[in-house]
């Protein structure tokens, strides 16, 4: 087993190195031409075509950015750490607000077939709406760009949690609920002591899906309203057609998304049980 893991790791590393090697080799800028004429400088150098920067350039740029992640050079120029913190703050605020509503509501829907039937049409219509489609309306009603971004996160992360909670609660084994009833537990106690632990793995799966979606959406939302955040950072560098920074921020977005997912995966493990 250990040797299989070892082999897999080695193979991953090898693939990475080959990939980076090809990328580096294909995108070598021509030898730095010194002594450009004024005309050539105005035309952006003698190089005929813009190219994707090689990985060595991206890494050296990443090193520069990461060695000073919290600098603040004015309202439109902040370090990558600050931008990520802004995005995380928006994601977590919207996400927690969604959880506060989705989980209790999911319980109600899961426990009551009547509520399930009554609310289902609304959920089915609202769920497929792209969260960004809400943005113009949110800006108009909330009259605050920060609030609108958080609202968009809220609205996109609420559905997986709501649906998974309802599903988990509705599918708790009836034997267990019957046992609770024979012990004369109140409905509230049944909900907390029996249904919640039983449905927890499904609920957490919903929460894990939600955080993934929220992190996907925040980048697009911030590109739209601008100001701060990792989405704004990507947009700002896109303005400058600075692919070094764009590739670097793509990597950072992936890294943070992975950390968020791993955190919820770890929590899911805590509530897992065997039948």
């Amino acid at each position: 087993m250990a040797s299989l893991n070892m082999k897999a790791t080695l193979l991953s590393l090898l693939l990475l190195l080959v990939g980076l090697g090809i990328w580096e080799a294909m995108n070598q800028a021509p030898a730095a031409s010194t002594g450009l004429s004024e005309y050539e400088r105005m035309m952006g150098g003698a190089d005929q075509e813009a190219r994707v920067p090689p990985p060595s350039q991206v890494f050296s740029h990443a090193w520069d950015e990461l060695s000073d992640p919290f600098y603040d050079a004015g309202p439109n120029d902040k370090g990558i750490g600050i931008q990520l913190a802004y995005s995380l703050y928006r994601v977590l605020t919207g996400y927690l607000a969604a959880a506060l509503i989705a989980i209790p509501l999911g319980f109600v829907i899961g426990m009551s077939p009547l509520m399930h039937k009554a609310l289902n049409p609304f959920i089915q219509v609202l769920r497929p709406i792209s969260p960004l489609a809400w943005m113009p309306l949110a800006l108009f009603i909330i009259r605050d760009s920060e609030g609108s971004a958080i609202f968009v996160i809220f609205i996109c992360s609420i559905w997986p949690m709501l649906i998974n909670t309802a599903f988990g609660v509705a599918n708790v084994r009836t034997d267990w609920i019957k046992v609770a009833r024979t012990h004369e537990l109140s409905p509230l106690k049944t909900a907390f002591l029996v249904i919640l632990p039983a449905a927890a793995p499904t609920i957490l799966t919903g929460m894990r899906i939600s955080i993934g979606i929220a992190w996907l959406v925040i980048v697009a939302a911030e590109m739209l309203v601008g100001g701060t955040g990792i989405g704004y950072y990507v947009w700002n560098e896109w303005n400058n057609l600075d692919l070094n920074s764009v590739i670097f921020s793509i990597l950072m977005i992936g890294l943070v998304g992975m950390l968020l997912d791993m955190t919820l995966a770890a929590v899911t493990k805590l509530v897992q049980y065997e039948d």
């Binding site: 035309m43 952006g44 813009a50 050079a73 439109n76 120029d77 009259r143 739209l224 700002n236």
Partner: protein, 488 residues
């Protein structure tokens, strides 16, 4: 609050000609030699400086002098003005006098001759205390916004006691919504926007005013390099063009230009709204065949070897307005003093930007990430008008490629309204002059220009010539009817 040129006038060691945190060689040397420099040393330093071509701009780091309140700042400004006046604006004689007699003596003597406290009070009364000093002003990262942007790093807002954050905005729709929300106190807009917003075209009707135009000229039609052989607009059928916003001079000028060449802008070409910063990426991707967009994105397309400059908009309408500084009527009424200070800072900054000798310094100040986030060489080509067009291997010199003039001509507003009607953005009877005069507050702009020592024009209407055709502001309806291609 970093404040330019407000050193203590009663101090012999302070120069009043340079900013107090000036980085020029002279000031640097003086700050390390508190005893002062000999005349020979001074001369040597000045010569060195001239050779290196250095200026005495404020260092990028904010700092220097702070005042506890805007009142203190005004006090200092008044003292400084009087002391300068007494010495005939000769800083050397002022400093020599104070070295001999002491600053205190000068203050006492002046105090006995001029009722300083009364002068200060009178100045404050005419200005009034600022209702709010911390402001947010939005801008879209283009060179048209130059005065709004550079007023921050170059200290024009601070000079009028304001602490302004200039906030970069992703596009015009967002700038409009942020202004309507009240998140921005004032914003960089396109000259047609406050007209459209006040009339409720494309948004809820909110009374907006436009105290100042930012730039005139300074736009261009860019085409993709693959169209180098299609320089005649008649060959543009089926082209996809980008403009920054529906209610923009770019849209109206592009429509006017192709219509004059016989193409119907709604049928023969496609016009899409693309935020300026995304123009170059879309051109590269082949999503657009060309665009009429603000700089630096025209020059950036040349710099990236993706496109070429087909025509500068100054060759379509010499002196056309483009971007503007605008705020809600509410802001101007509720905070008259703040509004007045902001207004003055903008007019002042616009005039500073208009001077060709300041352009290189401005290009340096607004290119960094916090502002335009563009290579300086691109911004410099736009602002100085010494540029390449991506077609021929030569350098052009067009100093008025972009220019800055704050005066909001009412006749320009009437022209914009005629085009809005021509292309069906507004319909019905339009009281052209009434709307123009309500939104473009030209008489106020004239007053402010006069106070700051500039000469405003005597009238607010004039005739404009666009592609050889004269626009008579007295006959807007006849003007619209004179076009063959229109939507009315």
């Amino acid at each position: 609050m970093a404040t330019k040129s407000l050193g203590n006038p009663f101090d012999a060691d302070t120069s009043l000609t340079h900013t107090n945190d000036c980085s020029c060689r002279l000031c640097q040397a003086e700050s390390v030699n508190p005893g002062g420099l000999s005349d020979d040393q001074r001369l040597a330093l000045l010569e060195q400086q001239a050779e290196q071509g250095e200026g005495h701009s404020q260092s990028a780091k904010a700092g220097g002098m702070s005042f506890d309140s805007s009142d203190d700042l005004l006090d200092r400004a008044v003292e400084s003005a009087i002391v300068r006046g007494v010495f005939g604006h000769n800083d050397t004689s002022r400093r020599n006098f104070i070295r001999l007699m002491g600053g205190g003596t000068l203050a006492t003597v002046l105090g006995s001759m001029i009722p300083l406290e009364k002068v200060k009070a009178a100045v404050k009364e005419s200005m009034g205390p600022l209702e709010k000093t911390k402001l947010k002003v939005g801008f879209v990262p283009i060179t048209c916004a130059t005065p709004i942007i550079m007023a921050q790093p170059m200290g024009f807002y601070a000079k009028y006691g304001l602490d302004v954050d200039v906030i970069k905005t992703a596009g015009w729709a967002v700038a409009r919504d942020m202004s309507l929300n009240g998140e921005y106190d004032a914003s960089h807009m396109l000259t047609p926007m406050p007209l459209a917003m006040s009339m409720g075209a494309g948004s809820t009707a909110t009374p907006y005013i436009m105290p100042a135009v930012e730039n005139i000229n300074g736009q261009a039609i860019v085409l993709h390099n693959k169209h180098k052989d299609k320089r005649d607009p008649k060959q543009w059928k089926g082209f996809k063009f980008g403009v920054p916003f529906d209610y923009s001079m770019h849209n109206f000028l592009l429509r006017y230009y192709v219509a004059e060449h016989g193409l119907d802008p709604d049928q023969d070409i496609q016009i899409r709204v693309v935020p300026p910063p995304e123009m170059v990426a879309n051109l590269r991707a082949g999503n657009l065949d060309g665009y009429l967009s603000p700089d630096p994105f025209n020059q950036r397309a040349v710099f990236e070897k993706i496109g070429f400059l087909h025509i500068l908009t100054k060759d379509i309408w010499e002196g056309h307005p483009c971007c503007a500084f605008a705020c809600s009527q509410k802001f101007a009424t509720e905070m008259p003093n703040t509004y007045a200070a902001l207004f003055r800072a903008i007019v002042d900054a616009t005039h500073f930007s208009a001077k060709a000798e300041n352009r290189e310094e401005i290009a340096r100040a607004i290119s960094p990430k916090n502002y335009l986030n563009q290579p300086e060489v691109v911004v410099r080509q736009v602002l100085t008008g010494r540029y390449v067009d991506g077609l021929e291997e030569k350098i052009y010199d067009v100093p008025d490629r972009i220019d800055f003039d704050p005066f909001p001509w009412h006749s320009m507003a009437v022209w914009i309204l005629t085009q809005m009607k021509r292309w069906g953005y507004i319909s019905g009877d339009v009281d052209y002059k009434k709307i123009a005069e309500q939104v473009y507050v030209a008489s106020e702009t004239g007053k402010v220009m006069e106070e700051l020592g500039y000469t405003p024009p005597a009238t607010t209407y004039k005739k404009h010539i666009i592609m050889g055709k004269t626009f008579d502001y007295n006959e807007p309806e006849e003007y619209i009817n004179s076009f063959a291609i229109k939507r009315v």
